[in-house]
């Protein structure tokens, strides 16, 4: 290379006359910059964008965005909110960083390499959509709609999920929010008190707050935490049942370090004790109870002594807690939990929580289980249901009779891998990262590798996107319309109000990011379902939904993003409330009709049970690449009991690998947190760390991926949901 030639010399002497065309002919006609009248920066007004609804987690706080020169500078709680108010959490604040994350997906891409080791090539939306539709249609033609499966998650996935489920007609849809999280809770409570409970306990006005494993403060859902803290401020006693001294346990009057997996036994022992002492709410049970005598008989063997031995909890403490609950009933919050897919015996545990509510009459009263009375009228927009007659896998197999909506994940995965009862050859993944949500990553990879086609739609290059053939970039929650959030004021005993809000973009989407209505409609059109399209745009969808309540996007904007109207007293229970203590329908299908403790596998010698939970600054894996949040908690230390640490020769801060009882070693290391605040038989770490996709340049390899160690599958028989705390690990010094 002749670097002795200078630029000046080149300009004086060079000629491109030998080229086949003039220089000007090969450059774009339009430049990215043009003449423009001078606008002094000091004259550019800041704007407040209203109508933001957070989705850094799925509590979905109401936001406003501070926007300068079309750029989002800051997020705050919407001052008009009667839910989260002006407060948002660390994750909510860090939404700005997500918006401008350099690793975010920007353009449609095609994988010209292999699944798992992709080589990406940017392609046009037309090519991407043509390919998706052609491949999906080919699967539909060859194998029927059931040959397509879908793993959706989040608000943007609902519209495409309904397209594939209702219009195309596949049952093979599995949401992590149900099958690896809260679905068990919902169906257990539906079959106990007749309604999914949400987290609707009136903690702010409770005399006692009781939770199995709820680690409020580490799990930050703003209005929920406000209720919890208000309750403590008002003098509520707190009982936290958790093998670990969590942030909540640190505030508790009673920390019950239960042996993992035995929570149901604890509930049965306490309920039996309360009944034996005659402290149950007889009048409530007389009026609203069903099958109480059978239930009473079924749990009668759970003496305090047996419970204490099973749960490894002192008998006196069990009595103390039972008395505390009964003596303060009915103003007691029995928390239903949220992420409850723990041990594969979870339906029964969740039923026992519902029964405890009934036993204490802690429903419809201050401090009890109370659902706020939210606004009516918000409509639904969905795809039309086609003429389909297939049965879902679990229905055809006559299993998991209490599964939440969709199909149990493992049945889809097993069918895809084995081809039985039929092949599943196309996979649509929308906003979910099954690599981190579903236990046994190898099986997930095997499932994907046998597919004829895999498409992913996401905001970030999560682990699962490495397996896509076509990868589509979606606008984030800060760049699109969609979710309608409605409810009541956070403190149920406060001034009774209702609110309706709709997600609105804080800024426009950059690059070629598109929304779910555009992507789904374009695919539907190309697959021959164009005549079924329910709305043309996202704003149209939101306006249609709001119209039922006499609202529109325009009206909501005029009301600073949130419509507030007078509410209704939420207290009291309906005459027809039924608490089904002994559910014969459950019994007839071959499951225990009264809540029953199903023992879980004991910890093998030399191992610890692997427990996981939330970090207050992350939403599992979704936020791992957010550098602001990463810096707040860069890895997930493994909690280890101090006596066990001494025995193993490990000190606080030592680096370790984890190796599970099936020989799977963690890809990365993390530090040890030596503490007396955890039982000797288990270790704990925050979930979501240790991403393997190097495209997440911040989150990759940071801490240990606990999901990679969850290789032993436990499936809750009633629901088909996963239990993910039945794996055992050793710590190996790095």
């Amino acid at each position: 290379m002749a670097f002795n030639l200078t630029r000046r010399k080149f300009l004086q002497t060079a000629s491109l006359a030998a080229a086949s065309v003039p220089l000007a002919n090969v450059v774009a006609a339009e430049a990215g910059v043009a003449k423009s009248p001078f606008t002094p920066s000091g004259t550019i007004a800041d704007k407040t964008a209203v109508g933001g609804i957070c989705e850094m987690c799925f509590w979905r706080c109401q936001l406003v965005g501070k926007v300068r020169d079309n750029k989002l500078m800051k997020l705050e709680g919407n001052p008009k909110s009667i839910d989260n108010g002006k407060a948002i959490c660390a994750r909510g604040n860090a939404g700005v960083q997500l918006l401008y994350d350099k690793d975010r997906l920007k353009y449609p891409m095609k994988n010209v390499g292999k699944r798992g080791a992709p080589k990406w090539k940017r392609i046009s939306w037309d090519e991407a959509l043509d390919t998706c539709a052609k491949k999906l249609k080919a699967t539909e033609k060859k194998f029927g709609a059931k040959g397509i499966c879908m793993f959706p998650h989040g608000a943007s996935a609902k519209y495409p999920m309904h397209y594939f489920e209702k219009t195309v007609g596949t049952h093979n849809v599995s949401e992590a929010s149900f099958f690896q999280c809260r679905g068990i809770r919902d169906t257990a409570f539906v079959n106990t008190i007749g309604t999914p409970p949400g987290e609707n306990v009136d903690m702010a006005n409770a005399k006692v707050i009781f939770a199995l494993g709820g680690h409020f403060g580490e799990n930050v859902h703003v209005s929920h935490v406000k209720r919890y803290l208000k309750g403590l401020e008002n003098g509520a006693k707190l009982v936290i049942v958790d093998p670990r001294f969590s942030a909540s346990a640190a505030k508790a009057d009673e920390w019950v370090p239960v042996k993992p997996g035995t929570d149901t036994a604890l509930m049965l022992g306490m309920m039996n004790y309360i009944i034996k002492k005659g402290k149950h709410n007889k009048a409530f049970i007389e009026k609203h109870g069903s099958g109480f005598d059978e239930f009473k008989e079924a749990i009668s063997g759970w003496s305090i002594k047996k419970t204490a031995k099973t749960c490894d909890v002192p008998a006196d403490q069990i009595k103390r807690v039972a008395n505390l609950l009964a003596d303060n009933a009915p103003n007691v919050s029995i928390h239903p939990g949220r992420h409850v897919s723990w041990h594969g015996n979870d339906f029964q545990r969740q039923r026992s929580l519902g029964c405890m509510m009934g036993l204490l009459g802690a429903m419809g009263v201050k401090g009890g289980f109370v659902k706020g009375k939210g606004p009516k009228g918000v409509g639904k927009v969905s795809w039309p249901k086609g003429d389909h007659h297939e049965e879902a896998l679990h229905v055809a197999a006559d299993v998991h009779h209490f599964a939440p909506p969709g199909t149990p994940t493992d049945l889809i995965r097993d069918a895809a891998i084995t081809g039985n009862p039929y092949p599943i050859k196309s996979c649509v993944i929308w906003g979910q990262n099954p690599m981190q949500t579903i236990p046994n990553q190898k099986k997930t990879i095997d499932m994907l590798k046998q597919m004829d086609f895999v498409m992913c739609v996401d905001v970030m290059p999560t682990d699962i996107t490495m397996y896509a053939d076509i990868l589509l970039p979606e606008g984030s929650y800060l760049e699109r319309y969609d979710y309608i959030k409605k409810g009541t004021q956070w403190n149920l005993s406060g001034k009774q109000e209702q609110y309706i809000s709709a997600r609105m973009p804080m800024v426009k989407a950059d690059f070629e990011r598109k929304d779910q209505v555009y992507i789904t409609n374009e695919i539907a059109e190309r697959m021959g379902y164009g005549d079924k399209i329910p709305v043309k745009t996202l704003p149209e969808m939101v306006d249609k939904q709001l119209a039922g309540a006499g609202l529109s996007i325009k009206k909501l904007v005029a009301e600073n993003g949130i419509h507030v109207q007078p509410g209704k007293d939420p207290y009291g229970v309906s005459e027809d409330l039924e608490v089904i203590f002994n559910n014969e329908e459950i019994g007839e299908l071959g499951y225990p009709s009264s809540p029953t403790y199903i023992p879980v596998e004991e910890v093998p010698s030399g191992h610890f049970r692997l427990l996981y939970g939330r970090s207050p600054v992350h939403t599992f894996n979704r936020s791992q690449n957010n550098v602001w949040l990463h810096n707040a908690m860069p890895e997930n230390p493994v909690w280890l009991n101090d006596a066990m640490a001494e025995k193993l020769g490990l000190k606080d801060g030592d680096r370790v690998y984890c190796v599970n009882s099936e020989g799977v070693k963690s890809r990365t290391t993390t530090s040890v947190k030596v503490t007396p605040g955890i039982r000797k038989d288990c270790v704990y770490m925050a979930h979501g760390y240790g991403s393997m996709n190097p495209a997440l340049s911040v989150g990759v390899g940071a801490g240990i991926d606990d999901q990679s160690l969850i290789t032993k599958l436990a499936v809750d028989p009633e629901t088909g949901c996963h239990g993910m705390r039945n794996n055992f690990v050793k710590l190996v010094k790095a």
Partner: protein, 183 residues
Amino acid sequence: MSAADEPIRLAEIYRFLAQTMRYPESSWFHDDYLSVFKEMLVQLEWQDNVNALPERITDEILEEIQVDYTRLFINAVPHVIAPPYASVYIDGTLNSTTADKTREYFRQKGFDTTNTEFPDHLVTELDFLSLLEDESEGSSEEFLTQYFRPWFEMFRDLVLKEVEVSYIKSAIELIDFFTTNET
């Protein structure tokens, strides 16, 4: 003197350099374009670079360049090598204060961006340089020194270390050559 014999203006060079960093697509990335690109290298007497380039643009060659472009500048496994934005090198994220300052400079000179791309994107900055030179020869030096070179040098080093296709390597070297301050 025919038009072809007239000296090449720096403004034209910058416009051409901006083109080299656009995503290569068949609508413009064809043999005529390659001919001009090669001739530029010939005039610089960069024969090794010329020799490394393909004879013609085939579909396979275009895809090879697209894949490397995507890997280097958009998204990739392992992670995107060198996002072509000043903000990433100065502040560690996209659309940061560096992008704001860049836009502010554009405005002070009577310009603004016309599309959805951030102002501190390599192509946008090269477009801006060409407009400055169009208005007044030599007026690009301040922007080059204060805004462009500080991040471009970090970007250039990353790309030259990781690049796989000769076309992108030469394009980066061309940009480096024409934006180096000679005063």
